[in-house]
Amino acid sequence: MQAELTLKGITKEEALEVKDRMTLLEAETGKTYTVKEINTDDDDMNSFLFRLGCYEGEPITLVSKKKNSCIVVIKDGRYNLDELLSEAIIV
């Protein structure tokens, strides 16, 4: 297995990463996920999301998604997120 993956040029860790980590836009509608990482490259934005209850280890539900935006449930509120934010939240 290890050898096979190495042949394809990716390590085992990377292979797992592809499966286990995805952005909100890659996630499935109607499902609840656990936030794994938030990185917007903007400290203020990260802490704003935190204050809404969107941070590592917390649940987030994808209600609907379009090509470059989505609607999520964080705690008991619904939010519309644009492309940048949808891609910055890893579940």
Binding site: T40, F50, R51, I71, V73, R78, N80
Partner: protein, 671 residues
Amino acid sequence: MRIAFAGNPNSGKTTMYNALTGRSEKVGNWGGVTVGTKEFKIKDEYAGGKDVTAVDLPGAYSMSPFTPEEGITSEYVRTANPDAIINIVDATNLSRSLFFTTQLLELGIPVVVALNKSDINEKEGTEIDVAKLSEKLKCPVFETTSTEGKGLSDVIGKAISLAGSSQDAPYIQADINLHDKAAVDAEDRKRYSFVNDIVAAVEKRKQLSSETTGSDKADAILTNPVAGIIIFAAVMYCVFWISQTALGPAIADWLVGWIETFQEWVAGQLENSPAIVSTILADGIVGGVGAVVGFLPLVVVMYFLIALLEDCGYMTRVSAVMDPIFKRVGLSGKSVIPVVIGTGCGIPAIMACRTIRDERERRATSMLATFIPCGAKIPVIALFAGAFFAGAGWVSTISYFLGLALIFLGALLIKWITGYKYRKSFFIMELPKWKMPSLKFAFKSMMERARAYIIKAATIILVCNLVVQLMQTYNWQFQIVEEGAENTSILASIATPFAFLLIPLGFGAWQLAAAAITGFIAKENVVGTLAVVYGLTAFIDVDELEMTGGANTVAATMGMTAVAALAYLFFNLYTPPCFAAIGAMNSEMQSKGWLWGAIGLQLGTGYTVAFLVYQTGTLMTEGHLGTGFLPGLIAVLCMAAAVYFIGKKTRAHFDEQYELHRKDGKQGAAA
């Protein structure tokens, strides 16, 4: 005694404030309606005879501000030492709201928690153990429904009785270095888990928030890039159609009848007075102000419909669907709200920009929002549509769409001038629960605006009309201007130099210039002044005008072609709004450069649009260019050149800064 109202955005603070004080401050079903502090005395029936002032604050998610209006709140509760705080908590989102509550409880000021929107919880079968919550938070908790006034006297009574005492905090942040980001984060996490434990202990939900509901399906359609925009266009079209073609004019006709009767009565009373008195009173004051008041129905019907839209929760869905488009021109989805509010009045529209986080986007939006014709411009549009285009609906429609187009073009121009490099612009907006819009609330909001409109007509517009009437009646020697020598009046001599500049736009008459100038005081003045200077007082009766045929009295008196009239209308719509709106822009922009840029852009836009409409229109209808094409072209080119050089200068400056950053990071990369 002062009691501050604090809580998350859209938790119902202003609704409660209005109920307790009897005020009618703006409310709406989205976060960020209130953008500044408001203070008023609480009604005696609630205050129990004591002198209690309620202070309404903008919504905040926490004590650390993210947008400018959130900063106002944390600053106020920290430094203004209110005697008590009423923390309004959205009971349908306890898990998020209590984060801010625990921070407020740490301040030492007595806090009373109002679990607002408890009616929705009841409907959805969510139960909150109030006694247990109160015990855990160490402060009194009451269930309330602000919209129906339920529980308010309990909350305010308790807050008054606790005022001035102290508050035990259920959770105290550890003594950490507040500059150490990791430590702050860790503390915030602890606070959230404290909150999560409380919520788990007191809240029982029948329906989980994560379940997809019917309203989610509706939201998916409304925020769909194609369907959502079509629906928005249709909704706005209906608003304009109902207010300006269907219902509005019908009521206006009826009202105008009354105004005319009144005017005749006044003229009758003045029969034996000197002619000059009767001219000033009957024609000047009653006629001019009446001309403006006659349009009131069109304006208030529109306010009523916009209030319904604001109340139901649609605005946030519109923001969400428009965000990608607005982002492309360098604005934000949040710029949509000021634009829609701007159809009512430009001042609250400019103030609503405060919820936009990015400074450049915020300033650009407040600069552009007033291109959308406001309520005060409706009389101007209706007058010209009625007099020159037989009341055609397309004049109004095109005025709004052109305004929207100018916002986009202006945004692109600002993007170019400021040398806007791609910077991350995030858009996150809470989608509140849909709510049945309250007719009572919309009616109240409408009456409030109607009152303000009438007061404005009876004060500013009345005074302006009187001044215009006097300036027109007398010459500089303070003698009454003789018939046939109208050009010697004070008004004519002041307005003529300006009129000269307007020749290339097709309306170089001093009367029109005078009306445009008084329009900067208040846009309704354009109609009032035209009524006075042309001695036309009953020209708003659309039906009557139609009877006299195409070449009706108004058009004939003004001596303008239809093309020039359209150019004049656009000039009045897209030049700077009234002084009050410019003042609002000044306080939002906090920069003289931006303010002058805004005024310059608006003047230039109004001039250019009018020039293009008049010249191409004349070419199309009469086969030749209009008068003064060359000087006008030179003026427009000069303006374009000015924009170009300002842009080049700021961009060069921007590039310099950018290069410096590059040099720091990568050696020689930019050299």
